[in-house]
């Protein structure tokens, strides 16, 4: 089947098999920043924003996402123009192997859109769908706090 997908602000016409999940359609069309982890909605490596809300793209049937706004981590910042959240993750040392980082950044972005000054509990809850098997979560929590500060300063 064919459909129009709005990815990172651009409309793309994509051909895909009707049973495919969004994760596969994104990766097969070059959006490899969306990572494939468990494919069961447990790890959060594949999290993207769908109409501004974080979802596990492995748990979204691609056809149901046609016409909706999809944002991957590349839609938030770039290598040469990183988002303050991405800077915060680097500065706080919250990145080790980096596989979970796109999902973590997306979850943090969604949190800070709603809550400019999140508590530890707010952070824990917002990132409850993102697993990191390298760093533990202390540095990640620190990165989110730093990101909140940076985002507020940038506004």
């Amino acid at each position: 089947m064919k459909g129009i997908f709005k990815i990172n602000g651009k409309e793309l016409e994509i051909s895909f098999e009707a049973h495919k999940v969004l994760l596969d359609v994104l990766r097969e069309n070059g959006f490899t920043e969306v990572k494939e982890g468990c494919r069961e909605g447990e790890c959060g490596a594949c999290v993207v924003l769908l109409d501004g809300k974080p979802v596990n793209s492995c748990q979204v049937l691609a056809a149901s996402a046609m016409g909706h706004e999809i944002t991957t981590v590349k839609g938030i910042g770039t290598l040469h123009n990183p988002h303050p959240i991405e800077e915060a993750f680097v500065e706080a040392g919250a990145v080790q192997c980096g596989f979970c980082t796109p999902g973590m950044v997306i979850a943090t972005y969604a949190l800070l859109k709603e809550n400019k000054d999140p508590s530890d509990e707010d952070i824990k809850r917002a990132l409850d769908g993102n697993l990191c098997r390298c760093t533990g979560y202390v540095k990640i929590k620190k990165a989110v706090k730093l990101a909140a500060k940076k985002v507020s300063e940038n506004e």
């Binding site: 009707a18 049973h19 447990e42 959060g44 769908l50 809300k53 974080p54 049937l61 056809a63 149901s64």
Partner: protein
Amino acid sequence: MGELVWYFPDSIEELKEIVQEEGVVVHGGGTGLLRGDIRRYKGLVDLGKLGFSYIKNDGEFVEIGATSTYNDLVSFFKEKNTKSILYKSLLESATTPLRNRITIGGSVAYFPPWSDIAGPLLALSSEVYLTGSREGWFKLTDYVQSKELKKGTAILKIRYEKEKDSGYSHHFRAVRNRVDHPAFTITLLMEVSDNREIQAATFYVVGSKDRFKKLTVLESQVIGKRVDDIHVESLSLDNVEFYGKVQFSPEYQRTLFEVEVKRGIYKILEMVK
């Protein structure tokens, strides 16, 4: 297996016809459907264009559109009623990205034993509005047990009397960690009068061998009693059995059930006191 066909109806009339076709199922958020190979279906119907993502709280009933997500409900009740049993249960359910995707209609249609919403909706005596081969409001308890009501129908909305969610409540999830699927859940609702008499009690366990069970033996021992006259330890429990699950053995679940039902009642009585 033929090519899976997607339908995006613009009207209820169109939906009505599509859902009655053999091999066509309704797509809510999709997380339940994805537990199997969706290529086994002939077609999937997406309800996204029909405007059933809403929660109404302005009359006698709370009415929830079928495509409202768990997080839609959490946000709604965070504003309106944090004592709601639905708020308590869904706040702890799954993870943030999954709560943004799991829909109420999908949960009711699929009704998995680990669902955090099943117990609360049963305890609230909820009703579902169907369209397709059957039209109108039906009791949730009838819907989940009837193949006939499920065949050729789509759930459009769910409702319950607002009054039923205004009392004391407790929800327990038998999990190993917070993001685990519950092996079973316990939902307790109680209405207590100003003179501390228990006027109504509705208790459910979901995830037992019976799939779900109303704890009528237990309910009958507390209804009509004064809060101060209830001795939790001496209450007898309904006979509830469990299958072994990945998380826990049947024996462990039974023990956990006995402990947690009484602990829940104790907590509610403490709230009243």
